[in-house]
């Protein structure tokens, strides 16, 4: 997994509540068996007027120039400023892969949907929860060339004018993100713990292990 320590980048505002993962990456792209190739189709239904499919490149598409990510001011943006309940709906991790591949390193919102939030930490995309009033202030300030600096260790977002926005994050998740650790390796390091649990679990509820003999 890609580590996240600090990042400075251009901010793009997405002024909508309840942005669901179907909008972030529509279903036709989930037919792929790969982890890559989703960036071109990020927010597909909003970035383009026509219906796309795997293999159709952006330069063959009918671009919606009114959509924020298509505006010249926000080209190259790497921080997405969003509204409440970002990433709701489907559990598709492809949503995180698409955001990252498009160039985003962090998403700032007042709240995130649970599954999406967890998926971010498996991939090195940093979801930052800021207070509603801070979000309002950022939406009011954001424009062409607006940048934010993010320091995960300090748990701070800093604007160009020096304004500092502090954020909370679970200590375990933060540690994992800072070091880009392999989650599975970390759990397998506890093999004895799992083995011990499994043995007693099998004794308590043997019917759960019936299919092991198949």
């Amino acid at each position: 997994m890609q580590a996240f320590t600090s990042h400075k980048g251009t901010v793009a505002p997405l002024d909508r509540v309840n942005v669901d993962t179907d909008q972030i990456i529509p279903k036709q792209y989930l037919k792929s068996i790969k982890r890559t190739g989703f960036g071109d189709y990020l927010f597909d239904g909003w970035r383009f007027h026509d219906e796309g499919d795997i293999g159709i490149t952006p330069n063959e598409r009918d671009i919606n120039h009114n959509f924020v990510l298509n505006k010249p001011a926000y080209q190259g943006a790497s921080v997405l400023l969003a509204r409440d309940n970002f990433g709701c709906g489907s559990s598709r991790e492809h949503a995180v892969w698409a955001l990252q591949e498009f160039g985003f390193r962090a998403v700032i919102a007042p709240s995130f949907a649970d599954i999406f939030y967890g998926n971010c930490f498996k991939n090195g995309l940093l979801p930052i929860v800021l207070k509603e009033e801070s979000i309002e202030k950022l939406f009011a300030e954001v424009g062409a060339g607006y940048e934010l600096s993010i320091d995960l260790a300090a748990q701070q977002v800093v604007a160009a004018d020096g304004a500092v926005y502090s954020f909370d994050i679970d200590a375990g998740l933060k540690e994992k993100m800072l070091n880009g650790m392999d989650d599975i390796a970390m759990t397998l390091a506890e093999k004895e713990l799992i083995d011990t649990f499994e043995t007693s679990h099998k004794q308590a509820q043997p019917w759960l292990f019936m299919r092991d003999q198949v």
């Binding site: 068996i33 309940n85 991790e93 649970d114 540690e175 650790m181 713990l193 019936m210």
Partner: protein, 471 residues
């Protein structure tokens, strides 16, 4: 000290311990797999030379992008080459790793969340994951069932554990008697309307009260299925006779002495009388009318007798803008009766509403009637091959066909339109599925979420009607 909730009990029974970084590990009893969210996970195992921790804890079936017609053709019936590769990849992975799969030609194939309970693979007190947010369905059996991302699918494959912090407890209490024509789908849509799509984020819901006790397992599954649409990763219902009776005799259920032992434990899977919940919501079932969504989020819902809301009635500017945006996308007019909405297509199916009871409710409305002239297509898609066979044996399929509806093979179908079943741009659809997001059922399509009975009545009338008046 306060007693334990049902969620507390299942969590405690699966708590493995803490990793060095302080994160909790919980043990997972069953992982359901399908073609869409598993290939990258299997690939990860292969690349890192990791085996499955417990082969017997996995069960697979293709559902998301299988075609729902000409099933006898099997893989040859999949004309989309990219989709075909995905289904073949599931086949290959299951063979390589030894995972039991109900493949495209198996009569037990179907939507994972219909298949698991139908086989008795879903049991009370289990922890279940699947790379699909509607895994919450299995909570109807007092299981802790959660949707996970593909990295978590791989993590559970390799370690049999999930890294997770415990959620808070949220009681949803529904009492009273539902009117004929009102179903579990209407209850859950009414709950989501009250809570909002983020209302239960960070919580596990437990549905309780006399109305829930009187629901069948099919109804409870519909309820738990849409917990995620209120932001909750899991929803649960306590064990009672209805639960036990449903599981007894199913292919994967224990038998004999093991059954006795299991049943005794399962009956303890209820919240203690003195358990404390962090939050609660109470609803009177008698006050709930058939529900219809008018917008692009499941929370944008109204009763059948209501009118499309005016965005100005929302105080919060962000909500107001969301409503304006949704009304424009849906092309519906504020102040007009919701029953005025004319329909182009109707979809009866999905992990929310494709079980035998759902098909019976729809058939009862359709019997002896014909689909309205303005409705181009009505798809009736059973949740599994076994549901299909049962519906045919009961004569339900013939009722649908006689009315001019299309009787299909099992799969997710037009719920998410990954297969050829989809809406055309601008079309309005009465759908028994779970999400009315923009483009969910097809590019620029417009979805209205309803119960199977309301969908069936809408197919006959050509627009929404109050199905209570038809029964």
């Amino acid at each position: 000290m306060a007693g334990k909730t049902l969620y507390d009990k299942v969590w405690d029974a699966h708590f493995v311990g803490r990793r060095q970084d302080g994160n909790s590990l919980i043990y997972i009893d069953l992982q359901l797999l399908h073609e869409v969210t598993s290939p990258q996970a299997f690939e990860g195992l292969t690349l890192n030379k990791r085996p499955l921790w417990r082969v017997g804890a996995n069960l697979a079936t293709p559902d998301h992008n299988v075609p729902t017609d000409q099933r006898a053709l099997g893989l040859q019936g999949i004309t989309d080459t990219v989709a075909l590769e995905q289904v073949i990849t599931l086949d290959k992975n299951c063979k390589a790793f030894g995972v039991e799969q109900f493949d495209i030609l198996d009569r037990r194939q179907g939507i994972v969340h219909v298949v698991g309970p139908e086989q008795g693979a879903t049991m009370p007190g289990m922890t279940i994951v699947c790379g699909d947010s509607h895994t919450s369905t299995h909570g109807a059996f007092a299981a802790l069932a959660q949707g996970v991302g593909t990295s978590e699918v791989e993590h559970v494959m390799a370690t049999q554990c999930l890294v997770q912090n415990k959620a808070r407890n949220f009681a949803v209490v529904v009492d009273g008697e539902m009117a004929p024509g009102v179903y579990a789908k209407d209850i859950i849509l009414a709950i989501i309307g009250r809570l909002g799509t983020a209302g239960a984020t960070g919580h596990t819901l437990e549905y309780m009260g006399s109305t829930i006790r009187n629901l069948s397992m099919e109804g409870r599954m519909t309820l738990c299925n849409m917990s995620i649409e209120a932001g909750a990763r899991a929803g649960m219902v306590a064990v009672d006779d209805t639960t036990i009776d449903y599981i007894r005799g199913r292919p994967f259920a224990p038998e004999g002495a093991l059954w006795q032992q299991a049943e005794q434990y399962w009956r303890s899977l209820v919240s203690d009388a003195d358990a404390e919940f962090d939050r609660s919501l109470e609803l009177d079932a008698a006050s709930i009318s058939p529900q219809i969504t008018w917008g692009t989020s499941p929370e944008q819902v109204a009763g059948v007798g209501e009118r499309i809301p005016d965005p100005d009635q929302f105080d919060d500017p962000v909500q107001k803008e969301a409503a304006q945006h949704a009304l424009k996308y849906m092309d519906v007019t504020p102040g007009t009766p919701i029953t005025d909405i004319q329909l182009d297509r109707v979809f009866i199916g999905s992990c929310t509403n494709a079980r035998i009871e759902d098909l019976r409710a729809a058939a009862a409305v359709v019997r002896g009637k014909k689909v309205a002239a303005n409705v181009k297509q009505v798809l009736v898609v059973p949740g599994s091959g076994l549901v299909k066979a049962q519906a045919e044996a009961e004569g339900l399929a013939q009722i649908f066909v006689d009315a001019g509806m299309q009787w299909r093979d099992a799969g997710c179908s037009m719920c998410l339109a990954m297969n050829p079943d989809k809406l055309g741009p601008g079309e309005h659809c009465a759908s028994t599925s779970n999400r009315n997001f923009e483009g969910r059922q097809g590019h620029a399509g417009r979805t209205h979420l309803v119960s199977p009975a309301t969908a069936a009545a809408a197919a006959i009338a050509g627009h929404f009607v109050d199905v209570r008046e038809w029964l």
